[in-house]
Amino acid sequence: MLTRRTLFTSGRAVHNPYAPPLRLENVSLQFNGKPALTEVNLTIESGQQVAVIGPNGAGKSTLFKVISGILKPAQGEVLIFGSQPGKHGCIGYVPQYNQVDWHFPANVFDVVMMGRASRIGLFRQPGETDREIVHQALETVGLSTLAHQQISELSGGQQQRVFIARALAQEAEIVLMDEPLNGLDRDSQNDLFEIFRVLRRKQVTLLVALHDLQIAAAHFEKILLLNHRVLGFGTPEEILDPVHLLKAYPGHVHLIEKSPGEKIAFADSCCDPNPEAEDELDR
């Protein structure tokens, strides 16, 4: 029988409990003949927190769009818990600051409730359960007292947390965040890392696009170096070596031999809004 649910959401994809939350097999994608992603292979385990690092235009946003099923790869396959992303509602994303219309007539509660939409279903109103879940999500990110604020009245850090709460309300198992640290001061950044630890306990798999290697190394268990291709994927210790960095930032990283066997890599972060973010890696 065609129920309302099958008609409009055509069923939710079933998770294979033995499959990793995210697996990319040989994924390639081109824009106007130029490669955006080239032969990306990647497996991310449940609950892992991965910093995605690469220069501007390295394909980080494209990677996120492919993972969330908004773009289809030209070659290769994306597998979310063992099946194609198209029907998964478990992928949450936190947009970049400048992609949000902050003056939209919605308060914090409204925005977080948007994450419930497909669970509520078409032609239905949010119920008591949905409201309870939204309140829990707000509690988790520490915004309970600001539920009725308009989103433009929040600080930058609070605004990021609204969208994390939205992903939690969505019951997302994979969360993608595009440059969430942009424009945040140190305290707000630390608040965010505190929330990442909560996500870790909830076994939420997290991918965060960043451009600050130091922060990536300090706060993430895995780093993915991306410049159209995967240039390296591993723990900070494995990735933060000059050879990898030179590949990721050709022309931006300079190697200086200090003494035999000891090299210094300077990363040129000219366009970084945060002047403290210069990476100086002593090896």
Binding site: T9, A106, N107, D110, M114, Q170
Partner: protein
């Protein structure tokens, strides 16, 4: 209070006032999304692009009003599809595509109407509205189709809110976003077609955007924005028509002028409150 009752002794004024109120409410609700999604130029264009549909319907029906609605809807849908098609298939930007389609359609409409004898009078009514010529049949049309638009808007409220605020979320939640976008365009087209007689093609966009924009300054919740816009628009319709009756001003123009004054007042109010 004789001045309120006096115009109501005329049937055409009763119908006009009812039409102005209904149109104001329906336009505000659809127009709220036009404002929030930055589609004002598209709304203006759609109102103009309807003209050849009306002209063909008018010529085919030998001057009868019957079937005009469907001809107008046909022209609106054709134009909306044409704009989408040009934007997707060429490197031309959307606003240019809108400009090309709407001026082309508008010119076609004028060309068709100019073949008729009483060309100037008909065109004036289409361009600037003829609210006092609203018939009972027209009122029913506004009532039924306007009611459908309001109902659809309530049914898809939470989905429409998402595609207006965050289209990417609509995709990751696997909402039927293409269907929802098309439905919203269709609703805007329906609203424009049923409202055309009140303010005409030239001022149609004001009915879509001015009351919602005023409400946008006054509230921070979506549903409140719709309700306030609807109330303001209904008030503009009523008072505009009274002004038109007593001072002999064009009805469409006075309705829009009242709505514009409300916008200026809300802006001033916001300015005063921000300073305190």
């Amino acid at each position: 209070m004789n001045w309120i009752a006096e115009p109501l002794t005329f049937d055409f004024m009763q119908r006009g006032l009812l039409a102005a109120t209904l149109v104001g409410i329906v336009c505000s609700v659809a127009g709220t999304y036009v404002v929030l999604r930055g589609m004002a130029f598209f709304g203006d264009a759609l109102a103009h692009a309807i003209l050849p549909g009306i002209a063909v319907g008018y010529l085919a029906g030998r001057g009868s009003q019957r079937g005009l609605f469907w001809w107008a809807m046909g022209a609106a849908i054709l134009s909306a599809l044409g704009i989408g098609w040009i934007t997707q298939k060429t490197k031309i930007k959307q606003d240019t595509a809108i400009g090309i389609v709407f001026s082309g359609m508008f010119a076609l409409g004028i060309a068709l109407i100019s073949t008729v004898h009483n060309y100037a009078a008909d065109l004036t009514h289409l361009l600037f509205g003829n609210i006092l010529g609203v018939s009972s049949a027209d009122l029913w049309l506004i009532f039924i189709f306007g009611g459908m638009v309001l109902l659809l808007n309530m049914l898809f409220y939470k989905e429409f809110r998402i595609i207006a605020f965050d289209p990417v979320l609509a995709k990751t939640l696997r909402l039927p976003d293409r269907f929802l976008n098309f439905l919203q365009l269709l609703m805007i087209a329906v609203v424009i077609v049923v409202s055309l007689q009140t303010v005409g093609i030239g001022l149609m966009v004001a009915m879509l955007i001015t009351p919602p924009a005023t409400a946008f300054l006054l509230t921070r919740r979506l549903w409140k924005m719709m309700v306030i816009a609807a109330i303001l628009a209904a008030l503009s319709g009523l008072s505009g028509l009274y002004i038109s009756y007593f001072w002999g001003v064009s009805s469409g123009a006075s309705i829009v002028l009242v709505a514009t004054l409300m916008f200026i007042a809300a802006w001033g109010l916001q300015f005063v409150f921000k300073r305190n």
